[in-house]
Symmetry: C2
Subunit: 197 residues, 2 copies
DNA sequence: CTACATTGTGATCGGTGTATACATTGAGGT
DNA sequence: ACCTCAATGTATACACCGATCACAATGTAG
């Protein structure tokens, strides 16, 4: 009947791709393993071969999201000046941009419900990109454009402000067109917050 | 058989109370209308008389959460000095304290999935407490302890920092004991961000 | 070519949200 | 006091979901 071979070829990738699509279009609550299998044209039990539970799929999705976020932040630093303000500006826009473009995914990434060993992998990937921010701030310190002090203690407020702003934008609390304008104010405020003296 | 009368008396309140209990203990994903009804000792369809859908119950839950948050912020201002730094400090601790004490509920409050008319009521209640922050900052401006400028544009970075810090604490990204220590740094940073000059 | 691990199938189980028709109750108007 | 009638709770049913199991088809290594 079907011309599809018995084996799909790369079912895990197909599942992740389709899952992210419906995640983006209809939110996490509309994500169903059975529906995914249906759309891909595979039996309802097939996904369980690759993701032992629905939560495992969500964890994998969050992981890819973290990886892409890290890439986006890294890419934002290409071709930008060395001044701390410029680099922070670029990173902030990349972060918030990713957040509004992947709202539901961001929720997933910072969700509380990861299994213990999943959070381990997630934590590792999270470090992979939070380290970028730490390095950015460390550079700023060496250039004398950021106040001296323990790196983490200076970075935490910066990270909180970015994350909070992204969360507000994502949850629709601030109107989407105000997001861009408000970001200028946020960055300026953060810069004042970690300026020397 | 049962000594419980046919009518419960105040089923909506019982549902909300029980829902918040399991929300706190086992998270939003473990919240089931049928289980709630079972625990209260009522038929599976009974909740639908008071909450037309599960989402409606969640919205109501989020609403009570916002109200309590507003109360907590207001209470934090009692018996605190008039200096802007002191008042912001108190409000920030109240906010973050509420967040870590009601993690799952906070997720619900700022979730993206509210029905259009529900977001209306939620937005109204949200204003009820964000106005407190605006007033706090406005007072600071009048006292010359906060930079001049449009109120919302100064408040947004403050709000973003608080919200982001609460979100980080809630999602377990920063270790719970570091939450208190880090809060000092956050408040100091925010104060520098909106200081005059 | 043959064992064997991998991957997909089909059926089944308990659980869930929602809708509908029906039963019980209490409150307001006469 | 009675009688309506809206409000509230019940019983049942439906479709869907996640998870698990035995089994079938397929690729692969020896």
């Amino acid at each position: 009947m079907t011309n599809r071979p018995y084996h799909h070829g790369d079912l895990p990738a197909a599942l992740l791709a389709r899952a992210e699509k419906t995640l983006r279009e209809r939110g996490v609550s509309a994500l169903s393993l059975r529906e995914l299998a249906r759309e891909i044209g595979v039996s309802p039990a097939a996904p369980s071969r690759h993701f032992k539970s629905k939560q495992a799929l969500l964890d994998a999705l969050a992981l890819t999201g973290l990886e892409r976020l890290a890439e986006a932040i890294a890419a934002s630093q290409e071709g930008v000046g060395e001044a701390f303000a410029d680099r922070l500006d670029a990173a902030a826009r990349a972060y918030v941009g990713f957040a509004v473009a992947n709202a539901a995914l961001l929720d997933l990434m910072f969700s509380v419900k990861h299994s213990p060993q999943a959070s381990e992998a997630l934590g590792a990937t999270a470090h992979q990109w939070s380290d970028q921010l730490l390095e950015l701030i460390g550079d700023g310190q060496r250039r004398g454009e950021v106040r001296v002090g323990p790196l983490e203690r200076i970075a935490l407020p910066v990270f909180a402000a970015l994350h909070g702003y992204a969360a507000l934008a994502v949850s629709g609390v601030l109107p989407p067109e105000a997001a861009e304008h408000g970001l200028d104010d946020l960055i300026a405020s953060v810069l004042r917050g970690c300026a020397p003296q």
